[in-house]
């Protein structure tokens, strides 16, 4: 955890000069400055575009926080109450066989993508093969019942959309898992993501639970906010009015909708309602939007870079993007 260095430095400090600025003083300073310049700040943001962006930013953060909290609670519970041996017994010992199991297990996590990142990271720390944890990471936000029901409500005219979304997302998750088995390298994943929790002998399981959850929350929270910033900026400043004119150009439509899914970073529970609004486009590009969105978007890339390191995220995200488009197209051509 992050405290070691801090505590050492505080020890050192107690002997040395006392005037050292720590993050605590910085925080107080920021808060005082923000209070002093509050009215100036409000005036500065009083431009329609910036007002819209700040509302969207707060909305994305507020919407995602409960799901992130759910994710870190599950992650904490796995750390405290599920011994690594139990997970090993639950999953097939051959990784290639465990991948589909993890994909289907995603059905059980009723949340959006923010919840699945801390859980996947914890699974890795508990000794689950990265390929299996990553499959779970990709499957959970897309195939759980809440998302499927909201898709069915949004596309109540075309129920096959639900089936196609389920198939496309599950396929994406499993293909990525198998690709990792074949090509993935452990050194891409930051060491801190794989480091096992220190031995907690002498601490109650509840203390381990609370401390793991708190630590994950602090770690992921900042990256979630970063993703929210990007998404709010894209949503407000990238004009999408011309998209409706794409109409019948199916290849262009697929690519544009895939990119849009990445930059809008919508919650997987809401994206179906946005997709249904692009009524000028055929169903296939809209299916691509629904399959790509929960697997890779700016919010998720930020969260993944935080959890697994930059060198992982910059390989994993583009690969997932391509695989998700292909899987969505296959699923759409077969099912729609």
């Amino acid at each position: 955890m992050t405290i070691t260095g801090e505590i050492r430095s505080s020890k050192r400090r107690s002997g040395g000069p006392r005037l050292k600025i720590t993050s605590l003083e910085v925080l107080c300073g920021i808060l005082v400055l923000a209070l002093l310049f509050q009215s100036r700040l409000v005036d500065l943001l009083d431009v329609p575009k910036l007002r819209t962006a700040s509302t969207v930013f707060v909305a994305i953060c507020v919407q995602a926080m409960p799901f992130l909290v759910l994710g870190v609670l599950i992650s904490g519970a796995i750390a405290a109450f599920v011994p690594a041996s139990a997970l090993r017994r639950l999953l097939p010992s051959k990784t290639a066989l465990a991948v589909p199991v993890a994909g289907v297990a995603g059905v059980a996590l009723p949340g959006c993508e923010c919840a699945s990142v801390p859980v996947a990271k914890r699974l890795m720390q508990q000794g689950v093969a990265p390929a299996v944890a990553l499959t779970f990471l990709l499957a959970a936000p897309a195939v759980n019942p809440i998302v499927l029901v909201s898709t069915a409500v949004a596309f109540n005219d075309t129920p096959m959309m639900v089936v196609a979304r389920f198939a496309g997302s599950l396929l994406t998750a499993m293909v990525m898992g198998w690709l990792w088995v074949r090509f993935g390298k452990m050194e891409w994943i930051a060491e801190r993501a794989l480091a096992r929790m220190a031995d907690h002998t002498g601490r109650s399981k509840w203390a381990v639970f609370a401390e793991s959850a708190r630590h994950d929350l602090v770690d992921a929270g900042g990256f979630l906010v970063l993703g929210g910033l990007f998404a709010a900026a894209f949503k407000t400043f990238v004009p999408v009015a011309w998209m409706q004119t794409l109409g019948g150009q199916i290849v262009l439509g697929v690519i544009v909708m895939a990119l849009l899914a990445v930059i809008l970073a919508l919650c997987s529970e809401a994206d179906a309602f946005v997709a249904v609004a692009f009524s000028a486009l055929p169903l296939l590009p809209r299916l691509v939007f629904l399959v790509v969105g929960p697997a890779v978007d700016v919010k998720l890339i930020a969260l993944q870079a935080g959890a697994f390191g930059k060198s992982f995220a910059f390989r994993f995200a583009p690969a997932t993007f391509v695989v998700a488009i292909l899987c969505a197209v296959v699923s759409g051509v077969v099912l729609l």
Binding site: S10, T55, D219, A270
Partner: protein, 234 residues
């Protein structure tokens, strides 16, 4: 970042969630049904932070040093301050005209069986903007024709026309869908973004594909109203 600072940030962020939950301001950002989850998230955040603070005090710092043996700088955690400052200092307003004007997908409604039932009887029927627009776009039997309805929305002017507009969300403000109605008759001469209740009648068959399903509405009377507690339709 120091552990104490992390805990204070968590308390602040949890406090911000509770503040918008209890003041009702959360309705500017997310849907009503998220309220229990928001409160739970706020309470859990504060709880986790307080638990850590109490444990640290009880154990004393020297001891806790042995428990944690890997460290990495977490500068990103500072970003958690941004939503806190946004909520407590700026309190961004509900989305309005800017979104409606720049939207690509105005009045995209869905044919839905249960929405197109019988209209209630009565002289003036209050309708949501969603239902009104859906009926003008999909209902060919013309159930709205000749009926007096009451709509609530904010005023908006574009290209010499005056509109009453409203946004509908399904999850949070990031997925807002704009709805608008072109006004004719006794058009309110109030400033843009002013909320109004308008009573009047639809111009039959005025919503079509060429005008992106924006129906015309003949205003008979209007009253200006404060912004509703729930600014968005769902």
């Amino acid at each position: 970042m120091r552990r104490e600072t992390q805990n204070i940030l968590l308390v602040l962020l949890g406090g911000a969630l509770l503040k918008i939950s209890f003041s009702g301001l959360y309705l500017r950002y997310v849907q009503k049904s998220l309220l229990p989850l928001l409160i739970a998230a706020g309470v859990i955040m504060i709880g986790l932070a307080l638990f850590a603070i109490v444990q640290d005090i009880r154990r004393g710092k020297a001891e806790s040093e042995h428990d944690h043996d890997h460290s990495h700088s977490s500068r990103s955690t500072w970003l958690m301050l941004l939503p806190v400052l946004a909520v407590f200092l700026i309190s961004p307003p509900a989305l309005g005209g800017d979104v409606v004007n720049s939207a690509a997908d105005t009045n995209q409604t869905q044919r839905s069986r249960n929405l197109l039932g019988e209209l209630p009887s009565g002289d003036v029927i209050p309708l949501s903007m969603t239902e009104f627009v859906t009926r003008t776009a999909w209902d060919e039997s013309g159930t709205l024709d000749g009926r007096r309805v009451k709509l609530t929305g904010f005023l908006l002017r574009a290209e010499g026309q005056t509109y009453a507009a409203r946004l509908a969300i399904s999850c949070c403000a990031a997925d807002a869908r704009p709805l608008k109605v072109r006004l004719g008759g006794d058009v309110p001469s109030l400033p843009d973004e002013q909320w109004v209740e308008i009573t009047g009648q639809v111009v039959p068959k005025s919503a079509n594909e060429q005008n992106s399903w924006v129906p015309s509405f003949t205003v008979e009377s209007f009253t200006s109203v404060p912004e509703p507690v729930e600014p968005y339709e769902s």
